[in-house]
């Protein structure tokens, strides 16, 4: 507390870490997508290419949330 600059820097890093909490949801989402995709491929191996494409697409969308969190964290660390 004696050094306000260091204190603010520390709080900033803490905020960046908290911003990355958003990655929890994306992790769960990607896991669900992968689980569903693998189950579908196990039941119907012939349709694997289509399922794979759609699975990766869904994963990419779920991942977008984590990417936004990462963008916020990077902005907090480097830009703000």
């Amino acid at each position: 507390m004696n050094d306000p600059v260091a204190f603010v820097n520390g709080l900033r890093l803490l905020g960046a870490g908290l911003a990355m909490l958003g990655a929890i949801g994306a992790g769960v989402g990607v896991g669900i997508a992968a689980s569903g995709g693998v189950q579908a491929m196990g039941r119907n191996p012939d349709a694997a290419p289509i399922i794979q494409t759609n699975m990766i697409l869904g994963m990419a969308f779920a991942e977008a949330v984590a990417i936004y969190a990462l963008a916020v964290a990077l902005i907090i660390i480097f830009a703000a």
């Binding site: 600059v5 260091a6 820097n9 494409t53 697409l57 990419a60 977008a64 990417i67 936004y68 990462l70």
Partner: protein, 358 residues
């Protein structure tokens, strides 16, 4: 005899790997401090390749990628000209990649595939080759020395040898010191620096690399994202004419549809916002993945320098391919969604949008 030969060769490779691991252990834990791994300095914006030059290190890496791609294209063209129908070796792999891309584009956009594939395959190959070039040793580790611009760890330089008249330095990890910057002080220091001569060697230095992976620069990914989204609109107009913009501005429904017409009108605006969100998610997805990979590699490389990094390098190669493929796949999907009119794909899409709106 014929059995003994291949066995011997395998054994030689094994000894080479063991020797490399031992050299790594010596360098990281036992040897002189100059060989020890250096904690990474995180630099988000691209730095110039030399003080005062406009070109940044990521642009240089992108140019190298471009040259490689052009050589690849010329090679593939000559191969094609030579008249061999069955490709071999390197071009076989190239053809396999291209066939995979072609199948995914054709699967999602049908007869428009011939017009779409030049754009999306170019994007794929550019990102793919850029991500592979990034893995070459020397990227992000060889550069010039500069005093740090913000609060971070810096090191004393040690002279190694002279290359002609150019002295070559290495930084000594044993002499790390924290450089703390106050914002005001930093501004003053910068003013002094621009007034003084720049080329005196710094006391405490960071390495600014000559080359950095293209996708670790937000400008690169953002430019690709803007190209992809703008071309989505172009393909939409090409396919549907001015009717394409009915998706965004549903004035007809506003007049005829009553209450639901107003909702549809609002949904149209949401779709317009969605186009801009696409740019954001495109660019930050690629940038975030590659940048995080670089951070992971350098951090783990500094903490556990011997056995773990090769595995992480494999992981990075995998992620380079996956991210290029995801960018390619999303661009293809968005373009083929823009190709068909809004009415055909109406039902489920509006449903989704209403859920998002609610």
């Amino acid at each position: 005899m014929s059995e003994a030969k291949p066995k011997k060769r395998v054994a030689v490779k094994r000894w080479i790997v063991l020797a490399l691991i031992l050299i790594g252990i010596y360098a990281a834990y036992i040897g002189p401090s100059i060989l020890k791994p250096v904690a990474p300095t995180v630099i988000l914006p691209a730095e110039p390749i030399w003080p005062g030059v406009w070109m940044t290190n990521t642009i240089l890496a992108t140019l190298i990628t471009d040259v490689l791609l052009i050589l690849l294209a010329i090679g593939a063209y000559r191969f094609h000209k030579a008249g061999k129908l069955v490709p071999s070796g390197f071009y076989n792999a190239f053809e396999a990649i291209f066939e995979y891309l072609w199948n995914s584009v054709e699967g999602s956009s049908g007869r428009w595939a011939r017009r779409i594939i030049p754009l999306v395959a170019t994007i794929f190959l550019l990102i793919f080759v850029a991500n592979m070039v990034k893995m070459v040793p020397g990227f992000e580790s060889i550069g010039y020395l500069e005093p740090p611009h913000k609060t971070s760890i810096a090191y004393h330089p040690v002279k190694l040898f002279s290359l002609g008249s150019l002295p070559v330095y290495a930084i000594d990890p044993a002499t790390s010191e924290m450089v703390v910057f106050d914002d005001n002080e930093a501004h003053e220091a910068e003013a002094e620096h621009s007034a003084e001569e720049e080329h005196a060697l710094c006391e405490l230095c960071q390495v600014i690399p000559f080359l950095r992976g293209s996708a670790t620069d937000l400008n690169f990914t953002f430019a690709l994202a803007v190209i992809a989204v703008v071309m989505t609109q172009v393909y939409g107009v090409w396919s549907l004419g001015p009717r394409y913009f009915n998706k965004f501005f549903q004035f007809g429904k506003l007049i005829s549809g009553g209450v639901f017409g107003i909702i549809d009108f609002g949904v149209g605006f949401l779709e317009l916002i969605l186009e801009f969100a696409k740019i954001l998610s495109f660019s930050f997805r690629l940038f975030g993945n590659i940048f995080a990979g670089v951070l992971l590699l350098s951090l783990v490389g500094a903490l556990l320098p011997v056995v773990i990094p090769p595995g992480l390098y494999l992981f990075e190669i995998f992620f380079g391919i996956i991210q290029a493929y995801v960018f390619f796949l999303l661009a293809t999907m968005f373009i083929s969604m823009a190709l068909v009119g809004h009415e055909e794909a109406h039902e489920e899409e509006v449903h989704d949008q209403e859920i998002v709106a609610a």
